[in-house]
Subunit: 141 residues, 2 copies
Amino acid sequence: MNTVDYLQHHDIKPSVQRLAIMDYLQSHCTHPTVDEIFTALSPQMPTLSRTTVYNTLKLFVQMDVARMLTIDENNIHYDGCTTPHSHFHCKRCGKILDISHLPCPISDLSPEGLVIDEVHLYYKGVCPACRESGKSDIEQE
Amino acid sequence: MNTVDYLQHHDIKPSVQRLAIMDYLQSHCTHPTVDEIFTALSPQMPTLSRTTVYNTLKLFVQMDVARMLTIDENNIHYDGCTTPHSHFHCKRCGKILDISHLPCPISDLSPEGLVIDEVHLYYKGVCPACRESGKSDIEQE
DNA sequence: AAATAAAATTGTAATAATTACAATCTTGAA
DNA sequence: TTCAAGATTGTAATTATTACAATTTTATTT
């Protein structure tokens, strides 16, 4: 499905800005921040406003076509992939990687009377690349 | 073990401020924010500085006697309990509850070459209390 | 006990992410 | 074409956090 249809199927009007942001999210699985998206799209869309990126991502999350990742305490990251999966956050390079591992079924929770809308699972540590390069300490981005 | 010994066993000098903050964390399992801790302790410690609360919590996390929770995108919360457990974040009242559910063993991850230091698992939804009271929409705190 | 050094705390100022908001622009319907 | 609703923009305001220099506390040496 193309991006126009994808947004429309989720009751989102496919403006030029929204299309560009969704395309960026889906073609860059790097879980970008607002600023990364803004910086990447600015050259081709010189009139783009940071506020629009904020508004659009908020809308995307509301309409369930993006997920907000609060894994990194310094910046909120966004994920255009909405199928359940987990993440790995490298403390050295700061990258957030997708991994497939998911928790056990949550049926054993329902006795507590909780209504569960979202499941978030992630790990923190050191990624293979950083481990190889042997950088000694934390120095993100 | 008392709080003085607890901090000393983790190579943390038990200053008055640090003791007060650790005591607060351990006696209030509400996963408070910096501001909640500062506001709660200020009356008894009028000279306490917000910066000290920030510094102290950073130290506690480094020394492994507290965990930083980035579940709530608006504020960082802190947890004085360091044994593995999961959380539930109510989207209505904003409370973070402890729950015991944990993911399956992570041994199936090691093939990917990741070094894992921390596991974070939490759920978002509506807590029993908010469900009962039937408040219609999101209105945190 | 006095002098000194190291560590911790404090308060203010700076930084940076996010939001509020009013003005402008775009789109689609009447 | 006119109009209204919605989307975008840019600036200003807000807020959490950090930087930093000054002060205070604590521990150590003489």
